[in-house]
């Protein structure tokens, strides 16, 4: 130990430029976070099934209205309130009989162009309306959910991350926003912007993101004090690195669950808006308005409610199992 030790001089050291990105780099097999997440997601059968159903429904939303030769606003009073009829599928109840058991097709001698899932009182083909409605509802729900997500995560994240005065002020703003009746905001919004899809989405987002931001804030507050964040800070991670690489992935679970709630809420909220004359402008259809109308007539024309309800439930269930799968896949703690 006490041999001739070469003198240590400064010039023996070469300055290694600080690479911000590699500050926390872990040596090991270069498996990226996203790749691993994908592998884990595809292992989850439920999530894959959910994904497939969502894809099928999305495709149907585009293709469905073109599958027969009706337009969503083709009215024909002679075809008013036709029950569903699909030749070969009579055993499923798609037999053209109304709830008294009379075959309306035979009674009105309609032979061609049977309505697969029935028609409404205007004689409009519900199959076409169902899928064009799905198209609109999915668009509204996904856009609104996405905007909620972006605003909510940013707002909640920033508020909790910086804490102190900033958090206080930002939370008081949220309280004010929640306190103002959002129906007033929505009515004003829609009256100024003309009723339509854009104004509905914007009206939903004005206050819709608040819930998301509260969830994110709660989670970030909880994570902030944990050791791995301190460690990362000690290693010189910048604030944005901390947020994006540590906090966000760790709050992914609740975010996704909240997001899954946002989608049905958005679909039904749109229906509520239509109900008070502020939603989708007729004759356009949405899943919400179809269910709303179907509900009014569920006793006698149950098919008007059943089919949109099936589609909406399928969308919800798929989004949920997919969300669950995503949650597991994205959870950094699940990494082996």
């Amino acid at each position: 130990m006490q041999h001739n030790r070469p003198k240590i001089t400064k010039d023996l050291f070469v300055h290694e430029p600080m690479k911000k990105r590699s500050a926390e780099e872990i040596e090991g097999p270069p498996s990226s976070f996203w790749k691993e997440a994908r592998v884990r997601l595809f292992k989850n059968k439920g999530a894959v099934l959910g994904l497939i159903i969502i894809i099928i429904i999305s495709i149907m939303a585009i293709v469905g209205p073109m599958m027969n030769n009706f337009h969503y606003d083709d009215q024909d009073l002679l075809r008013s309130n036709l029950p569903p009829l699909v030749p070969g599928m009579e055993w499923l109840g798609l037999n053209g009989e109304n709830s008294h058991g009379t075959n309306i097709y035979e009674e009105n001698s309609i032979t061609d162009n049977n309505a697969w899932i029935g028609t409404d009182e205007f004689g409009r083909d519900l199959w076409t309306r169902l899928w064009s409605g799905t198209q609109i509802s999915l668009f509204i729900a996904l856009t609104a959910a996405f905007l909620d997500l972006v605003i909510g995560v940013l707002y909640g994240g920033i508020s909790a991350f910086y804490g102190g005065k900033i958090d206080d002020i930002m939370q008081r703003i949220v309280e004010v926003l929640i306190g103002i009746p959002n129906l007033i905001l929505i009515i004003l919004f829609i009256l100024i912007l003309e009723p339509g899809v854009t104004s509905i989405i914007l009206a939903m987002v004005i206050t819709g993101w608040v819930n998301m931001s509260r969830i994110v804030r709660g989670q970030v507050l909880q994570l902030k004090g944990q050791e791995f964040i301190l460690a990362s800070k000690a290693l010189g991670a910048s604030n944005s690195q901390l947020i994006w690489k540590h906090l966000i992935p760790n709050v992914m679970g609740p975010i996704i669950v909240t997001l899954m709630f946002t989608i049905p809420t958005a679909i039904f909220f749109e229906a509520f808006l239509s109900f008070i004359g502020l939603g989708i402008q007729p004759p356009l259809a949405s899943l919400g308005t179809l269910i709303e109308n179907g509900y009014q007539e569920m006793r006698y024309f149950s098919y008007k409610l059943i089919f949109p309800a099936i589609v909406i439930s399928a969308i919800m269930i798929s989004f949920n199992v997919l969300g669950d799968g995503l949650r597991d896949a994205l959870d950094p703690k699940m990494r082996k």
Binding site: Q75, G277, Q281, P282, R299
Partner: protein
């Protein structure tokens, strides 16, 4: 230490929740009276042994029972059954003397003298002429919703008081003594007796009103009754109970002992209550008509409410008569009422609805006398459309069709859009549904192209529809102005000969409809389910709507 504080906080929350329940139980106990009442009686419905009770539904709460402020059908019906004015509509909707025993008219038709009959308020005091004088003048002091009815009835100085040139004390009503009431009118009016059945003309017991002060009309306990029924209880937003008034002057005519009214706002709920025998009479929506139309309890009743489209007369295209006619004629109104609405509504090809008004002597329906307007095939409509477009050198246009959020109005709009676009070349219709208040604001400002509107009568005379359209009239709202029409209406307003006046009204409608200044759509109807044992509920064409005085249970 801190945990203890948190625990305290938790207990506060739990305590708060407890408060809510506590507040609620007191609320419940107050409702228990009515449960007992109704459970005592529901069992006896239909049994002849004890009281005769019926259970009705209402689609809303009573806003107020102050007759000066009442402004909607629900309050009018309650007031009409609990109180009584000089006249009451009989079962054929004709005014018959009620609180007044006798009605003398001076030769010039300007001074009306009423003799008040011996009747009493539910606090035992007698109904006097002064009760009328007080109540009528109070309407102006209170700025009542419907004080325009005094103008319509032509009560002396009413217009000047509304305009602010005179005080309520100058109103043409004087109590000569306890039982003699003198009313002075501006012009002799054929409508006066009919108008006096309207609840704003009800008497009020001055001492009582002043005693209860601000709470007058807000609770069942704060009103007095002089009519066929007493208002026994009124639970906000839940319902109210009428009981037979034993002190009513004509009490022997009243057969029902009790009427329970429940507030039910959803039709599906009302249907379920009907199915479980909890209520005896409901109004159903078109989606239930197919299910019940063969039921013995089912009936369709037309109402005098008209649904029509206003054309914006400032719009270049709608100023053209042929275009207006083409649009009106294209719409398959029968398809709209029979297939789309399916609730008994009838197609409307005119302004004044059917079964509303009958000519003074022959008793012929107004509708029959004037016939229908602008009926024709789609081909004729297309011809008119092409004529119209070429007249103004246009090859079509895009327009908006405004509608309020009413279910039937929206359905009509969807139907009309499709009808117009698929038949008339070059037309594009954009539906714009808005909340009712927004529609009304747009109408008043005439900021729309076409708008689906509705109008219910204020009184049982065609004039209630016709004077809407005079130049700058408050209900015109489409900048329509026609000198000839205005002069016919002005003439009818002062005409005392009923026959001549009726002819003027017919002419006025003809003038308006020959040029299709509005596009009538349909006359509303209600699909009703009423237990067949209930007889004799009278429904007047204009407010006050329902009359339970003659109702009975078999």
């Amino acid at each position: 230490m801190k945990n203890l504080l948190f625990l305290l906080m938790l207990m506060v929350i739990i305590g708060l929740a407890g408060c809510n329940f506590g507040g609620d139980s007191s609320n419940e106990s107050s409702t228990e009276d009515t449960i007992e009442n109704s459970s005592e009686n529901t069992g006896t419905v239909g049994e002849e042994t004890s009281g005769k009770v019926i259970n009705l539904t209402s689609d809303g709460d009573i806003p107020t029972l102050d007759s000066a402020h009442a402004h909607d059908g629900i309050a009018f019906t309650v007031l009409n059954n609990v109180n009584e004015g000089l006249y009451r509509g009989d079962d054929a909707h004709n005014p018959e003397l009620a609180m007044a025993e006798d009605h003398q008219v001076s030769e010039d038709g300007l001074v009306h003298t009423f003799l008040i009959r011996d009747a009493q308020w539910s606090n035992g005091e007698a109904v006097t002429a002064n009760d009328f004088e007080y109540a009528w003048k109070r309407v102006f002091e209170e700025v009542g919703h419907y004080n325009v009815m005094f103008e319509t009835a032509g009560i002396k100085n009413a217009s000047a008081i509304i305009a602010g040139d005179m005080t309520p004390d100058d109103l043409g009503i004087v109590a000569l003594d306890e039982k003699t009431l003198e009313i002075t009118v501006e012009n002799p009016s054929a409508l006066l007796n009919q108008l006096l059945t309207f609840p704003i003309f009800l008497p009020l017991n001055q001492a009582h009103v002043e005693e209860v002060g601000d709470t007058f009309g807000t609770e069942a306990e704060t009103i007095l009754s002089n009519g066929p029924f007493l208002l026994d209880s009124w639970q906000q937003d839940q319902g109210w109970v009428y009981k037979k008034n034993p002190d009513y002057w004509d009490a022997e005519t009243v057969s029902l002992d009790q009427i329970n009214v429940n507030v039910v706002k959803e039709v599906s709920t009302a249907v379920n209550l009907w199915e479980s025998d909890a209520v005896d009479r409901i109004t159903i929506s078109s989606s239930y008509v197919d299910e019940y139309e063969n039921d013995e309890n089912f009936a369709n009743v037309v109402r005098p409410e008209v649904i029509f489209m206003r054309f914006n007369h400032n719009h270049e295209h709608f100023a053209n008569e042929n275009i207006r006619k083409a649009i009106d004629m294209t719409i398959d109104k029968e398809g709209l009422t029979n297939t789309i609405l399916n609730n008994g509504s009838v197609p409307l090809y005119s302004l004044v609805p059917q079964e509303f008004s009958y000519s003074p002597n022959e008793e012929v329906d107004f509708r029959e006398l004037n016939g229908e307007f602008n009926q024709g095939s789609v081909e004729e409509a297309i011809a008119l459309w092409e004529d119209g477009l070429s007249e103004i050198d246009s090859d079509g246009f895009e327009m908006s069709l405004m509608s309020s959020d009413d279910d039937n109005h929206v359905k009509s709009a969807e139907f009309i859009k499709n009808q117009l676009e698929s038949n008339l070349e070059g037309i594009t219709v954009n539906i714009k549904t808005v909340p009712f208040e927004a529609r009304l604001e747009n109408e008043k400002a005439v900021e729309y192209d076409m708008v689906i509107s509705s109008w219910g009568p204020d009184y049982s005379d065609p004039m209630t529809y016709i004077d809407m359209w005079v130049t700058d009239g408050p209900a015109n709202r489409m900048d329509f102005s026609d000198d000839e029409f205005d002069s016919i209406v002005a003439e009818a307003n002062v005409e005392t000969d009923a026959e001549v006046r009726y002819q003027l009204l017919l002419d006025a409608e003809k003038k308006l409809m020959d040029e299709m200044h509005i596009a009538p759509l349909y006359q509303s109807a209600d699909a009703l389910l009423t237990r067949s044992k209930i007889k004799g509920i009278v429904r007047h064409p204009s407010a006050p709507e329902y009359e339970y005085k003659w109702a009975d249970v078999e």
